[in-house]
């Protein structure tokens, strides 16, 4: 296996759809299949804390994004001196400008990702990204920058980042959606907005659909004959989810489905394994 390339797998989508769950599980599968994997959580304070308590298998390295440190790196590159960069970081004027200036935060974060991707330390870098709107601002910042700043090392850097983000082989973006009305609508909008921005998303991963526990004919029979309220409940919820998935397939095209993990069912683990396998094959193609 060629070790000279890192593939970034960037997950975005509405809050609460299970991005963190998918990122962690996919990272584990990818680690098993292809070696070392970096797992990056974007700064969403509480969720980061919630998952930090989890232990990862040895091939997974959790990479925390320290925005201040990342800004320091970017500054050091611009001014050439780490010491000056550090002093700048300590200046309250500078931090106020940095906190309020539109676009800076995005540039800092995305160049941090690029750095990870070129370090050759990982076969995959899985990014548990922020919601679609914020991700869009994040991913388009370097392209705008590179287009407009023709000279200098920061510009070269922005160009490299922009190239990475727009290369669908090295930078794979999937939108995660829950089988719910609002999340599905946001996923479709997200796809369109990414494409408008010149970024080709891989597709949508629907997370959390109830697993298929009865065949179609069994479901039909049970829906009209079963006296158990739980059976009606399950079938009604699954039917509603399937209708949303159907609508998504119409509007979004390629879909992948990861069922909800429920005790006694196997399908979630199987689907995650298969999904990771597809990511590996695509990355090596």
């Amino acid at each position: 296996m060629p070790s000279s390339r890192t593939t970034v797998l960037y997950l975005t989508g509405k809050g609460g759809v299970g991005k963190t769950f998918l990122a962690e599980r996919l990272a584990a599968e990818l680690g098993r299949l292809s070696g070392r994997v970096g797992l990056v959580s974007m700064p969403r304070a509480s969720e980061a804390r919630a998952s930090a308590e989890q232990r990862h298998p040895p091939e997974i390295e959790a990479v925390a994004l320290d925005e201040r440190a990342a800004l320091g790196q970017l500054l050091a590159r611009v001014v050439g001196l780490r010491l000056v960069a550090d002093r700048l970081l300590d200046s309250s004027t500078f931090s106020a400008v940095a906190a309020a200036a539109p676009g800076l935060r995005e540039l800092v974060i995305v160049s941090f990702l690029e750095e990870l991707a070129t370090r050759d330390r990982y076969r995959f870098v899985v990014v548990d990204g922020p919601a679609t709107g914020h991700s869009l601002a994040l991913l388009t910042a370097p392209a705008r920058f590179a287009r407009l700043a023709p000279l200098g090392s920061p510009a070269r850097r922005a160009r490299a980042v922009s190239e990475l983000v727009s290369d669908p082989h090295r930078f794979v973006i999937s939108i995660v959606a829950a089988p719910e009305e609002l999340a599905a609508r946001e996923a479709v909008e997200g796809l369109a907005r990414l494409r408008e921005a010149g970024i080709a998303p891989r597709g949508v991963i629907v997370n959390g659909i109830y697993p298929e526990l009865a065949t179609l004919s069994e479901s039909e029979w049970l829906a009209s004959h079963s006296r158990h309220p739980d059976v009606k409940l399950y079938l009604a919820r699954r039917a509603r989810q399937l209708a949303i998935v159907e609508g998504l397939a119409r509007d979004a095209g390629a879909l992948e489905i990861v069922p909800r993990e429920l005790a006694g069912t196997q399908s979630a683990a199987t689907q995650l394994e298969e999904l990771a396998g597809r990511f590996v094959r695509e990355a090596e193609a």
């Binding site: 609460g16 963190t20 304070a45 509480s46 400008v97 539109p102 540039l107 059976v231 399950y234």
Partner: protein, 382 residues
């Protein structure tokens, strides 16, 4: 199932002496629906209530008569409400238009207001300032509480997993003013003195130039204009936000956190709760929303004509729903344990069963609101 669960008091008993109910929680937990339902049910008891929603799902928006995206207030008409002499005014937050209106009102002159509104920095700040939604919700809240037209104001907030997402934007803007950063941008010569070295000044200038390219604006001169015209406006915006924050911290406000009954959502809720605590806001009530309905007291006998395959499929499904309930109960137990360790008394947590028919009508919304207000009317799960 172990014994009877402690009786859960509804929100109604906690509303005495409150002017404001502040809903918080992450995305997808049903915050907006719960806020609207509570407001509707309280109005149906003859009160005058205002509810500010952030981004209602299309059908909820329709039910409230908020089809259009604007900041207009609309009176919600419902038979019970009218019969009991109550009133419910509903609005959805439109960040940009609230900001525009405030600038027009707070700027020293109409001319100054126009200069601000036309400034590209303003467009960027008003639309993209992170937390702008919360910020503008605060501003609208200030007007609502100031006018004193309502017995109760119910507010939905944007999805948040950390207090900073709700309360941070005003502080950031205020900090920008306090440090004089805007004047430094306007006159980079100042940066030499402030940032401590020529290289630092150079860097700030480089950065601004780079950002001009990223944002496509002429950042520096625009910022200078912006700083001159906007300073007064931002100062009074900050003042208003501070006043609202004070009310949020006071006993006039009931903070309600909405959470889903799963382990992840509970972990997020716990972190949000403690970050709010640090900011001086205490969550006074927790709604565990979208619970799976309780199991039937007695499992019904299978159909006589069921084949072995059908029976097996039925058993698989029942087992899955049972597992789901177990997961949910475990998550809620964790949540309850947390409430106890924080010294809260029982009865400040209510489980709401997911409505299988959805909340497409005002009647369904009212029914949910009644359950939130007065849980005795609902069946609490053991």
């Amino acid at each position: 199932m172990s014994g009877a669960a402690p009786k859960s008091a509804g929100v109604a008993s906690l509303l005495k002496g409150r002017r404001l109910v502040f809903f918080v929680g992450e995305g997808g937990v049903g915050k907006t629906s719960c806020a609207a339902a509570l407001a509707l049910a309280f109005a149906a008891r003859g009160k005058s209530v205002a509810v500010l929603t952030i981004d209602p799902a299309p059908r909820l928006g329709d039910a409230l008569g908020l089809e259009a995206i604007d900041a207009e207030w609309r009176d919600v008409g419902h038979a019970t409400l009218i019969r009991n002499g109550g009133r419910l005014a509903a609005s959805r937050l439109d960040t940009k238009s609230v900001f525009d209106r405030l600038v027009t009102r707070l700027a020293p002159s109409p001319n100054a207001a126009r200069k601000i509104l036309d400034n590209p920095i303003y467009a960027s700040v008003s639309g993209q300032l992170s937390g702008a939604d919360s910020y503008m919700a605060f501003q609208q809240l200030h007007d609502l509480l100031g006018a004193n037209d309502f017995d109760l104001v119910v507010v939905d907030t944007p999805p948040a997993a950390h207090a900073d997402e709700i309360l941070g934007a005003p502080a950031r803007l205020a900090r920008l003013l306090e440090t004089g950063a805007i004047s430094v941008i306007a006159d980079p010569a100042l940066a030499v003195a402030r940032a401590g070295s020529k290289i630092a000044a150079f860097t700030i200038r480089w950065l601004l130039k780079a950002l001009e390219r990223v944002t496509g604006t002429t950042l520096r001169s625009d910022l200078a204009d912006f700083a001159l015209g906007f300073h007064d406006v931002v100062a009074s915006l900050s003042e208003r936000a501070t006043e609202v924050t004070e009310i949020l911290r006071s006993s006039e406000t009931l903070v309600v956190e909405v959470v889903r009954p799963d382990a992840r959502s509970v972990a997020v809720a716990r972190a949000l709760r403690s970050s709010l605590e640090i900011a001086g806001l205490t969550v006074g009530y927790t709604l565990v929303n979208r619970h799976t309905p309780p199991a039937p007291a007695e499992a019904p006998a299978p159909s006589e004509d069921a084949s072995p395959e059908m029976l097996a499929a039925e058993a698989r499904i029942v087992a899955a729903i049972t597992a789901l309930r177990l997961e949910e109960n475990e998550a809620v137990e964790k949540l309850k344990a947390m409430l106890v360790t924080e010294g809260e008394r029982d009865g400040r947590l209510l489980r709401l069963t997911e409505s299988e028919s959805g909340l497409e009508s005002l009647d369904a919304l009212l029914e949910l609101g009644e359950r939130i207000l007065d849980s005795e009317a609902s069946t609490e799960q053991a």
